[in-house]
């Protein structure tokens, strides 16, 4: 593979370390771009090469003349900037700390708003969303998203399935209004429109970066090293690397990707690397900005040691090769190399066939150990195995050849790595091989199988490749014997639809792994009752459809119920669906978490007050001890002892505070998970109503209302 390199157009040193990911570029005076980054725990640095006068809380750095420092008393988790104030073109800096968000006007040195974020702050974006006229500040927390306006007033709130890792505002459905794309830790890219989730794109790992690349396309990067591009919900391409992507940007018809190890590569429309460069240390961020004030944005790459490199979007030398009648250029040479590559590959393949036919011509001679009958074929089947609690992938050949080894390539379904392999002991070689699969999530999975077929003493094996798709609910197997169906399942969700039973059958056949397709006994059958067994934990799932359109899904797992409702709704094209639910376990948990959340909130304030008090005492005692050193050593010792004691107490307090904080975060997360699951039992406006009602009930600390919402939705 040939890839040319690029030279940067500018290069500068910040002389400060930069925390990866916490970097932004803003125009605090409305004209000049300033690079703003977190330089360690609570320090923010602002680079102002264009001499913008900065005063107030911001102090000039000793390490670099063009850099100013801003110290906060809290850790900096996220940075963002945007012109949120109506009628003012200046960018405001938004600083996210573990529990709060601060909007700060750097130019005027004034705070705009300050807001508690009980669910934590992971990502902040500024942008237009939906019908809101003004730019919103959208905050992604541990299990929720919240939008604020410039005054810090909450505009909307919603729950998501996991920690929010990345967000962008993007017109996903091309209606002229932006939707919010949320990349979550639970491996989904979710599309929030009008405060209601309209689409979920299942990915294979936590989604750590998202970036808009055109009106219809966006790029994504996962924590397992995958990057790719989506267009209208369809993935165009993806590639996987060992490194994680720090940032993706669109640069002159190429996708520029900045990897954690400091490599930057440009990929063309198919994901092939066109150019690459390597920074001297690990990467911290990459952004598009007009940092040179030339009227066109550059790609600005920042390393964690504070090195900043700028690359132009368009390569200047491209224009040289415009005419056709000219001396052959380097690109043409590459084309020749590429052609020869192709020729070489073809020649190798041809040689293989020729050698093969010459060996078939005289097949009286003893068979070489690598040979095998040409009509060997590989058969693959998937069956549920309720004894081993898994799906068995069965691979077999149709003759006496053996399956020496088989590899299954799929993402997100194995405990470790991206492959599962079976290599039987040499005395257990058979022409059939079983591979157990345990998909942990209910999503459709493509499994790619490579099997090596030959004889025990072969030096070379034939490769057979097959791709199989596992349907979404493949881990649920149908129960044939009705003996264990006696006990009724308490938990269930019911709703009413106006659809023929045949359509339900098709949905079942498509989404479940069934040995035989579900068919109706005769044309007049109007109802359906079917039972499944979950291979993971052996619990039951029952789906009933009665003639009047009533659907009842009984399962103890509220998440599964939600998945089923969503899947069915998408299949039947339902825009809105209201349902009633009864999940005693979830309700119990909801009560428990709610009590913890409110309890923890109270203790937190008490602890904070205590800590502040003791800290004040220490600050008084310490100079006293130092003074004592001058006249009475004994007294000094005593005072220092006190300081030590207090310090220990303070430390202990700190540990307790941290523990309660952690507890609060987990509880809140659990709570949000249940609320999300409750929302997923409904579709469309009913789902949205559940979220809104829940938010209100949580704020009012009204547990019974929450349980009611879970049961019947918002009525």
């Amino acid at each position: 593979m040939q890839a040319s390199t690029v030279q940067p157009v500018f290069k500068l040193e910040l002389n400060h370390k930069v925390t990866p990911g916490i970097v932004t570029i803003a125009k605090y005076d409305g004209i000049h771009s300033c690079l703003t980054a977190s330089a360690g725990y609570d320090k923010i640095i602002i680079h102002h090469p264009h001499g913008a006068v900065i005063s107030g809380r911001v102090q000039r750095s000793q390490a670099h003349g063009e850099v100013s420092e801003l110290n906060l008393s809290q850790a900096v988790i996220a940075l963002a900037a945007g012109a949120i104030k109506p009628d003012i073109a200046r960018d405001m800096l938004l600083i996210g700390s573990p529990n709060q968000i601060l909007a700060y006007d750097v130019h005027d040195n004034s705070d705009i708003f300050f807001k508690e974020a009980s669910d934590g702050v992971n990502v902040i974006v500024v942008g237009h969303f939906g019908k809101y006229n003004e730019k919103l500040v959208i905050i992604g927390g541990n299990s929720s998203v919240m939008a604020l306006n410039w005054q810090g007033v909450e505009q909307f709130w919603n729950v998501v399935g996991g920690k929010v890792c990345s967000m962008i505002t993007f017109d996903f459905d091309k209606d002229g209004e932006n939707e919010l794309l949320i990349g979550c830790e639970d491996s989904y890219i979710k599309v929030l429109k009008n405060n209601q989730f309209v689409m979920e794109l299942a990915e294979t790992g936590p989604v750590i970066c998202l970036s808009q690349i055109s009106d219809v396309r966006f790029a994504y990067g996962l924590a397992n090293g995958t990057i790719g591009i989506y267009e209208e919900g369809i993935r165009l391409w993806r590639v996987k690397s060992k490194q994680n992507s720090v940032s993706l940007q669109w640069s002159s018809e190429n996708l520029a990707s900045c990897w954690a190890n400091g490599r930057i590569d440009w990929r063309d429309g198919t994901g092939r690397v066109v150019r690459r460069v390597q920074m001297r240390s690990n990467a911290a961020a990459m952004m598009l900005a007009d940092y040179r004030c030339v009227g066109a944005p550059d790609l600005i790459c920042v390393s964690d040691k504070g090195e900043v490199l700028g690359y132009p979007l368009i390569q200047e030398n491209v224009s040289l090769n415009a005419t056709s009648k000219r001396f052959p250029s380097e690109e043409d040479r590459l084309a020749i190399t590429e052609l020869l590559n192709k020729k070489q590959a073809l020649l190798v393949e041809l040689q293989h066939y020729e050698a093969n036919s010459s060996s078939t011509a005289n097949d009286d001679i003893e068979r070489p150990s690598t040979a095998m009958p040409t009509n060997t074929r590989l058969q693959v089947a998937i069956a549920a195995d309720s004894e081993e609690n898994c799906l068995q992938l069965v691979i077999s050949t149709n003759n006496d050849t053996l399956v020496r080894t088989a590899m299954v390539l799929a993402e997100g379904i194995f405990e470790s790595g991206e492959t599962l392999a079976r290599h039987p002991h040499s005395n257990q070689l058979k022409s059939i091989l079983y591979i157990p699969l345990k998909p942990p999530r209910d999503v459709p999975v493509d499994v790619h199988i490579k099997a090596l077929v030959g004889y025990p003493d072969s030096e070379q094996f034939h490769i057979f490749e097959i791709t199989k798709q596992l349907p979404r609910f493949s881990m649920y197997t149908i129960i044939v014997s009705p003996s264990i169906m006696k006990t009724p399942i308490e938990s269930h969700v019911t709703f009413r639809i106006t659809e023929r039973v045949q359509r339900i059958c098709i949905w079942l056949n498509q989404n479940f792994l069934l040995d035989e397709e579900v068919e109706l006994e005769n044309e007049d059958t109007k109802d359906l009752h079917i039972s499944f067994l979950c291979l993971r934990d052996m619990c039951r799932l029952e789906i009933e459809y009665s003639a009047d359109g009533q659907v009842k899904m009984s399962t103890s797992d509220i998440r599964l119920a939600g998945d089923l409702v969503q899947s069915l709704a998408i299949y039947l094209n339902l825009t809105d669906l209201q349902s009633t639910a009864r999940f005693p376990e979830a309700e119990e948990k909801l009560r428990a978490e709610m009590s913890i959340v409110s309890e923890v909130g109270e203790t937190r304030y008490r602890l904070a007050a205590e800590t502040a008090e003791k800290a004040q005492l220490i600050t008084a005692l310490l100079p006293a001890a130092q003074d004592a050193a001058a006249y009475d050593l004994k007294e000094m010792l005593n005072r220092y002892k006190e300081v030590i004691l207090l310090n220990e107490e303070l430390l202990l307090n700190c540990h307790i505070r941290r523990a309660t904080q952690e507890q609060a975060v987990t509880s809140l997360k659990n709570l949000h998970t249940i609320l999300q699951q409750a929302a997923r039992l409904r579709v469309g406006k009913y789902s949205k109503a559940v979220v809104t009602a829940c938010r209100k009930a949580v704020n009012d600390n009204n547990v019974e209302a929450l349980v009611k919402i879970l049961q019947v939705g918002d009525t």
């Binding site: 092939r272 380097e330 690598t370 009958p373 080894t405 470790s416 392999a421 090596l452 490769i463």
Partner: protein, 717 residues
């Protein structure tokens, strides 16, 4: 980097072996040079380049693989002759392609390298160097190990011929009249040598490229054969070929490496021992088998290279490639356009042909009367190295076709590492109780070379048998077959360093293992190959060789003949392992053998005294590294550390912190483990009672580097 050279692809040939491309000297009326190349299919072709288009001057029919191509040295009357070795044959061709000489030599193995010197012919094959004069065999010298390369020189009085020979045991020797004249040991492990053209005929001075990627000179001055390393390996692959490149700025040594790098070093012809200056580096992505300079495509010198898979390309100055100079020569432009379209047509035709054949092949899979699918073996070469300082053993795999995946299987747990460009994924074990390794390595598109490093996790269970590793290599394109590579990781992987047998005279505390019984030399060789890495000497009446440990520096001397084997080592653990290996082999083969050990009573203490300095050094180094780690985790700012006014770190710590990261590896823990094992093995072999208490005291003393306590325990009995 000074030169700006760009790649121009000329043509393809079959798989090439190292040093099988040569550039013919320029004739009087033409300055553009022709070149010859021989490949694995046995085709020798002579090509010239006109307007970037290769023109075949002559081409032989396929036959036995050509393993070496040489031109007659410039002196003598046959300067224009081409010699090609295949198997044990050597053929001579004229410039026109006429065979004027064909001899079948008596060498038993394939000729891997040869040298033509006047009317003399030197052939290297297996362990022998054979000298021919006027096509008559004069002598045949048997070396201790495989012969890698040889060059010939005349003696000052111009009567005799001296041969400088490189041997795989890292030795360079001079042979005169069929007997050993001088020898020297070169730690870098030279693989290829070349003689600078500026040399006086009687001087002996050659440049070598080493297995560790380094470059150096070997010279014979004042009756001493010695060597000097000029350029360190610095993480580049092992050298596969060396050649010369002359241009207006001087003479350059061209180096082609296993990792696909091609480098040019400017040599000071006045003083060859001066450090050469690196002028150019290019990565072509697959192992380079030959690299030479000459005027190939234009009047200006360029670099010509071949790769393992059979690519032949030139590296010429960029201004000649992408003409930023206004060109009046429209002929070149037209030629280029026709060349490109010709190539495109050819590829299209091939595509069609391949599609036909593919169809035919696939039709066969559905027929009722099955034929047989017997694809030829994939062209894959691999090489397993001995263990390096961290016990990693590296296997290098090169392939003629692009690779897709590797699947690695081992019955024992292994640690694995691979190329940074490949994705290593460990699979969960097949059965929970069985400690297996199943791993896949997914390669980047176009990968043709790959390295894997592995080491055994727990040596205890694998001591006797060695570890067998299966690697299935899956190519990216057709043919859809996977080749199986079987590797054997020996039980004593560290004994990869060859030593002269004289190491026995070293003042050390030797333990001896004596085995007598009804075994043959061949059997003993086979048994030892379970334990030792690398190639062993071929069975002969009396075999004797020495190796040393890469970390501890301890030696192992093996002497064996029919029915008797004696092993000496100053490492008691080695003797203990060997004893287990051999007795296990004897039992398996049902051979009765008497095994006895001779262990000195004061072994432990003397051996420890020998490594004491090293131990102390490693202890200090380990401490430094730990301190550095601690300082680093403070996350100090570079600037604040260097600040003169506010000193954050004391002097000592600052010094440690500023130390480079390069030597941030220590063998301290290996050393502790080794000394502990010495003590345990000593107790076992000399039938002393071992006190559990002692071993914990010893271990703690070792950890804290309490030299007195250690000495006390070790000299207790």
């Amino acid at each position: 980097m000074d030169y700006d050279l760009a790649r121009i692809d000329y043509t393809l040939c079959g798989i090439t072996y190292p040093d099988s491309l040569k550039i013919l000297p320029a004739t009087e009326h033409k300055s553009q040079q022709k070149f010859v190349v021989g490949d694995k299919n046995g085709v020798l072709q002579c090509l010239s380049i006109k307007d970037e288009e290769p023109l075949v001057q002559f081409k032989t029919l396929p036959g036995k693989s050509i393993t070496s191509v040489q031109l007659a040295s410039s002196s003598g009357n046959n300067a224009e002759k081409i010699f090609a070795a295949s198997g044990n044959e050597v053929k001579g061709y004229t410039r026109k392609g006429k065979v004027f000489l064909s001899i079948e030599t008596s060498v038993a193995e394939t000729i891997t390298s040869m040298c033509v010197f006047g009317s003399d012919l030197v052939l290297c094959s297996g362990r022998t160097v054979t000298f021919y004069r006027e096509l008559q065999e004069i002598y045949c010298y048997m070396c201790d190990d495989r012969v890698l390369d040889a060059v010939a020189f005349t003696t000052p009085n111009n009567i005799k011929v001296r041969l400088l020979v490189l041997i795989a045991n890292k030795e360079a020797i001079i042979i005169e009249n069929g007997s050993l004249y001088k020898r020297t040991y070169i730690a870098a492990g030279p693989t290829r040598i070349t003689v600078p053209s500026c040399l006086h005929a009687t001087e002996i001075c050659v440049f070598y490229g080493g297995a560790d990627g380094s470059i150096g000179v070997i010279f014979y001055e004042e009756s001493i054969l010695s060597s000097k390393c000029l350029v360190e390996g610095c993480c580049l692959g092992s050298v596969m070929c060396v050649g010369w490149f002359n241009n207006s700025s001087g003479t350059h040594l061209a180096v082609g490496r296993h990792d696909g790098s091609i480098q040019l070093y400017l040599i000071n012809t006045e003083n060859l021992k001066e450090k050469p200056r690196l002028k150019f580096t290019y990565f072509c992505g697959e192992p380079v088998t030959s690299v030479y300079g000459g005027c190939i495509g234009t009047e200006e010198p360029e670099l010509l290279a071949t790769t393992f898979s059979g690519r032949i390309f030139g590296l010429r100055s960029r201004r000649l490639v992408s003409g930023n100079v206004p060109t009046s020569n429209t002929k070149t432009v037209d030629a280029f356009v026709t060349r490109r379209s010709k190539l495109e047509n050819e590829v299209a035709r091939l595509e069609k042909q391949v599609a036909n054949e593919r169809d035919k092949y696939q039709r066969n899979t559905r027929s009722i009367y099955p034929g047989i699918s017997a694809p030829p073996l994939l062209d894959i070469q691999y090489e397993l190295s001995g263990a390096t300082s961290n016990s990693w053993q590296e296997v290098k795999i090169i392939s003629a076709v692009a690779l897709d995946m590797l699947f690695i299987y081992c019955e024992n747990k292994l640690d694995l590492q691979t190329d940074s460009a490949a994705v290593l994924s460990l699979c969960s074990a097949q059965e929970a109780t069985h400690p297996e390794l199943l791993a896949t390595v997914r390669c980047q598109a176009g990968t043709r070379r790959l390295w894997l490093r592995m080491r055994t996790v727990s040596s205890a269970e694998t001591q006797v048998e060695g570890t067998r590793v299966l690697i299935y290599v899956l190519p990216a394109g057709a043919p859809r077959v996977a080749r199986l590579i079987k590797l054997h990781l020996p039980t004593l992987p560290h004994y990869s360093k060859y030593e002269p047998i004289e190491v026995e005279e070293k003042n050390s505390c030797w333990c001896e293992l004596r085995v007598s019984g009804g075994f043959s030399v061949a059997e003993m060789t086979a048994w030892l190959s379970e334990a030792l890495p690398g190639e062993l000497p071929r069975p002969a009446n009396n075999v004797a060789f020495a190796r040393s440990h890469t970390i501890l520096g301890t030696s192992l001397i093996c002497r064996y003949q029919r029915g008797l084997a004696v092993f000496k080592s100053d490492n008691i653990s080695t003797i203990a392992v060997l004893k287990d290996v051999i007795s296990n082999c004897c039992v398996k083969r049902n051979i009765r053998a008497d095994i006895s050990c001779d262990i000195p009573d004061d072994y432990c203490i003397i051996s420890f005294q020998n490594i004491k300095d090293k131990f102390k050094m490693e202890y200090d180094k380990n401490k430094d590294i730990e301190i550095k780690k601690a300082i680093r985790s403070l996350d100090l700012n570079e600037i604040s550390i260097n600040e003169e006014t506010q000193k954050l770190l004391c002097k000592d710590y600052l010094q440690i912190f500023k130390k480079s990261d390069e030597d941030a590896e220590t063998n301290f823990h290996d050393l502790i483990e080794a000394v502990k094992n010495w003590y345990l093995d000593w107790c076992k072999l000399s039938l002393n009672i071992q006190y559990n208490n002692d071993i914990t005291i010893l271990q703690n003393a070792l950890k804290e580097c309490l030299l007195e306590d250690i000495t006390e325990i070790l000299s207790k009995h």
